[in-house]
Symmetry: T
Subunit: 68 residues, 12 copies
């Protein structure tokens, strides 16, 4: 097995529905410019609180992709 | 822009449905006595396990609100 | 009240739906061989990214159970 | 089971005897103004050193209580 | 020496000048409603970036005060 | 010296007296089913607060034992 | 509100004056190639010590910017 | 893909040669009683110092294996 | 001395030999597209365990390089 | 008030009685060669387990003292 | 290049002006008895609050110096 | 068993070969001025990157030795 190398980038996704949707938004955006996405690690969960009581779910992940 | 100051309080919400519901319960309770809620940070996710196999989702967050 | 002692084990559950489902899978598997499950603590959230864009939600928890 | 919400406050207790006494002082003071104390988490142990060689045991805990 | 008890609150101050000014704003606001402020611990330094290139220095501190 | 290998398990002990007694309870229970206990590391100190003002001291330790 | 996504990069700025100047240098350099800078988080403060007694203030920050 | 569940155990390996040898000793010992070993995470590197100047390399890892 | 600015990227290298070889693979790959590499910081050591008992040593590092 | 400077050293004390006694042993030993001891911070609690079931309480503290 | 070895000591500096001045006081004091100071790492920022509203800025750093 | 006390110092060793060699350099240097070295704990692994592609392996350890 040849030596493999991955790069990780940090992305914060936001959603008005759930943390899973926030992560999906982050992954989808990352996949637009990167190939070989392999895994991600959750680094932080936060939330924005609007004056109307709505919550914006915010998830920061490190996304790893293989470097050819 | 005038100097702004926020205070943070630590709240643990519980729900039998999901972590998002647990956080919403915590935020809703905090909003009963505080105005100007701005954001929150997730500090811990835990869970209670009942003898019937049910899970109580428990989320501890720091909620920040603006001090006038 | 007599002195109580709990043991904790570390389990990683996976799901294609959500982190809650991943945790439920981990708890269900732990309950097959252990009695007296009491609580769990989330230690890490990660995710696997398939070539088809699907996400595998991966949750690592410490599950505590009472030792008789 | 209805959704439950707890609030946590941070308190530092001091004692010339032991860390347990320092925590008891912190809990006792918190119980003077709060009802429904449920649990606490130790965050830090420190100590003050007097010129006479005496030690002041200092314990910082997060005390959780139920919000009705 | 009688047993002493301190309470800590978490405050985020903001300033357009420096982190020291952000902390001073947080301390000054805390001192409006609390007596016996004793010390603080820096928990986080962040910053807001305006479209005009200006920086808002944001400091989160835990402020401790003596409970009588 | 031959290569040695140790395994660690996580145990939470409880006591109504002190953290040392809570740890002793955890060690004693672990020693019932394991041989070769070598050392432990304290991971967390918490406490339960009863309605009568009593404190249950809770200590979580990782106990290491030699694998033959 | 549409789902928003931010990317974070890690930058270390240096200055012979202060940590604020070191951060400003890091932000200014980041802004040369990136648009939509939104916030930053301080990750580490270090310093270089020259043989002449001078200090180089070194600040490492994570800078977040919006991805269109 | 069916839901997968892994269990992690904590093992400390020792070697007089290197950290890699210490980890190999820990993995080899774990594989004697467990099937389906999948990955490990290094938690701590320490070392013992003998009176003769020799070093015992000590590595603590969490080893994960699939539960059928 | 003019103000200097460095950027850090996160890279995971893998090797079947040792952690040093895994890091060298990560650094070599990073040097293919970046100039001015200055230092790196180890963030995590993990390992993959093959069914044949082989170990893939995995090292995640933050690599810093000077921005002109 | 003139600028004050403190130095901290790391000391591990051991006792067969309690963590407080272990810390007192560490402080007493430090005071034999240092003047102006001011405070300490607990960094780690561990324990040694003898074959006879006895526990050696081990406390690692950072002790600060004023530099004249 | 011969193998180099550095030692680090922990120093807390105080100042009534700023964190940079507190660090400079710590470095200056360390340089009185040590040669070859090379770099420092900030470990903690705290502050003392006087009854007159004044702030004492307290910075704890690890200072590294080369051992010949 | 009499109460034992250990002191820990922080040392950074460097090597052009491996992390083990970097640690050996740090231990060897510490042993020149200290007796009773007992154990060490790895605190950080870093590396220097030369313009020629060479790596300087840098290991920071806390070395403990018994105080008589």
């Amino acid at each position: 097995m040849a030596d493999r190398v991955f790069k990780k980038i940090s992305v914060t996704g936001c959603s008005t529905e759930s943390y899973e949707k926030a992560i999906e938004a982050a992954v989808e955006k990352a996949s637009e410019s990167l190939r070989g996405l392999a895994w991600f690690e959750v680094k932080e969960f936060r939330g924005g609180l609007g004056s109307n009581g709505n919550i914006e779910w915010q998830a920061t992940i490190d996304v790893a992709f293989k470097i050819d």
